[in-house]
Amino acid sequence: MAEIVLDNVVKRYPDGALAVNNFNLKIADGEFIILVGPSGCGKSTALNMVAGLEDITAGKLLIDGEVVNDKAPKDRDIAMVFQSYALYPHMSVGENMGFPLKLAGVDKGTIQRKVNEAAEMLELTQHLDRKPSNLSGGQRQRVAMGRAIVRQPKAFLMDEPLSNLDAKLRVQMRTQVSRIQKSLGTTTLYVTHDQTEAMTLGDRVVVMRGGVVQQVGSPAYLYEHPKNLFVAGFIGSPSMNFLPGQLKGDGIVVTALGEARLPDRVRQALDKSKTSGSIILGIRPEHFEDASLIPGDKQGAAFDAPIDIVESMGSDVYAYFLMKGEEAHSADLEDLAKDAGNDLHADGVPVTARLDAASRVERGKPARLWYDTSKVQVFDADGGANLVPGDLD
């Protein structure tokens, strides 16, 4: 159990590449922190620096108030779960899990007892004598978890521990990881590129991009008050819709969805900001609705959507359509598209809307849709910053 503090931590490789820049984070004892970002954003490097597998170029790393920059991994008393699991293939499951204790010079009886305890917790008891090569992916993952658990370290570091599992198992293991962390109460730093894991697991989420921390906060806060376009586009699935627009006076915004009047709260924030007037409007898919299902007095804006594709999920209906106009352009959004491997360019503004299952929208037919103007995000078209800061910013 420990508090971990990263104080202006920098990682610069000998070739000059800057992997992590001025990383500041205070992890409270027992907290579950998620580092999330697209590949190459420096999240794994940050984790490896905490582990001691990579040197820290500048800044300070404190564990329990003690600077550990120059301590070897073995003296930091933290355990790590690797993406590849990194099980020792020549040892049985029991030996794998007992290895850290053996190295620490713990007597055989205690090792046996602790391994059995951990195995029970992870339902590995009947596999203790098997070799890792005879286990399934999920079992291997659990052995890797077990190896971290047995020595009751100050903190767990997890480097994309679930990304090698198939989708169904990943969801199961996600809840199990969460359960284990809660029951042990061990400080955990968890790296992932999967925003779903970030949203579901963490007490707080750290979104990184290009070695720089973009925003730190609880999953719900990040979802509702993304600091910039990058965070807004990264958090949430399906991701937020972005529509370039112009601010006219008096809280009127013009986008491909037509004119809309922004609520007073947003208008006041916009008045304070120094925006040129050209903005990007962010609307989450669930903030759209079929206009016929909305009572007339609810604040919002309606528009005609040329519905392209309809996917019915049973609980919801997803409608995809293309509005006329220019697609939103920004460095943040291009980074996101690159990470998602999406290099398609539409002749317009693609929009995804999540509608109520009762909606009667049909593919290929125009429909009247509505969106909740009180939930929209307004970003600066130049810098990508959110012009309506959240309560905590």
Binding site: P73, K74, S84, Y88, H90, P100, L103
Partner: protein, 277 residues
Amino acid sequence: MQTETTQRKLMWWGVNILVLLYAFVPVVWIISLSLKDDATLNDGNYLPSSPSGESYAAIFSNPDFLRALANSIGICAIATFVAIVFGTMAAYAIARLDFPGKVTIVAVSLLISMFPQIALVTPLFKIETALGLFDTWPGLIIPYITFALPLAIYTLSAFFREIPWDLEKAAKMDGATPYQAFRQVITPLAMPGVFTTAILVFISCWNDFLFALSLTSTSNARTVPAAMSYFTGATTFEKPTGPIAAAAVVITVPLVIMVLLFQRRIVAGLTSGAVKG
């Protein structure tokens, strides 16, 4: 489909038999020669008509041969052991660490193994006579190690590179010192590679004729391949074909035994299960 598989099987067996014949005809021939007696040695039969152990009796009563056999085993075992110990460490460093001059070291070691040995015989002879190493065990062990090391480093570094780096990181995180990680995690996994390399190195030393012939003068350090060339027949004009064949069979046996022994250890895919897969 049925005919095709039958045809394929026939082809498969045909090719197998061809390869086996190619490999075993000379072996059987030399065994056959070693079992023939003087009278039937040149009768032209592929198999001996009346097998006898005469040649074997002759070489095993020859003190020079017995001494040469001991020399061979001793010199090759020591050279192999030293080459493997240093080769393992060097290969690990080359596979895992970044240090200045790494490329140079690899290039130089490769260069040494490419060197034509015959060109080195005269200088080595001069050096060894000057140092008093001529016709001694170290006089052969040292050049053997020199040529075995590059081979060992090359093969072993390939094996080390196959071992996932994550395993070492995991060992570090589990509290291992670099030596503990090397000793308890990396070495056990590299064992198949070490054994394979040991066999290759041992065979290359065991088969050496050039150095064994030119860097020795008495049975003091002469190994079997060189000693065989000093066998004499019953008369000056008679070739000692039988005893040479018998000696050739005798020195092949340890190799076969070694390969059979270590073969069990060379289990492919020992690292499977370490990382996802």
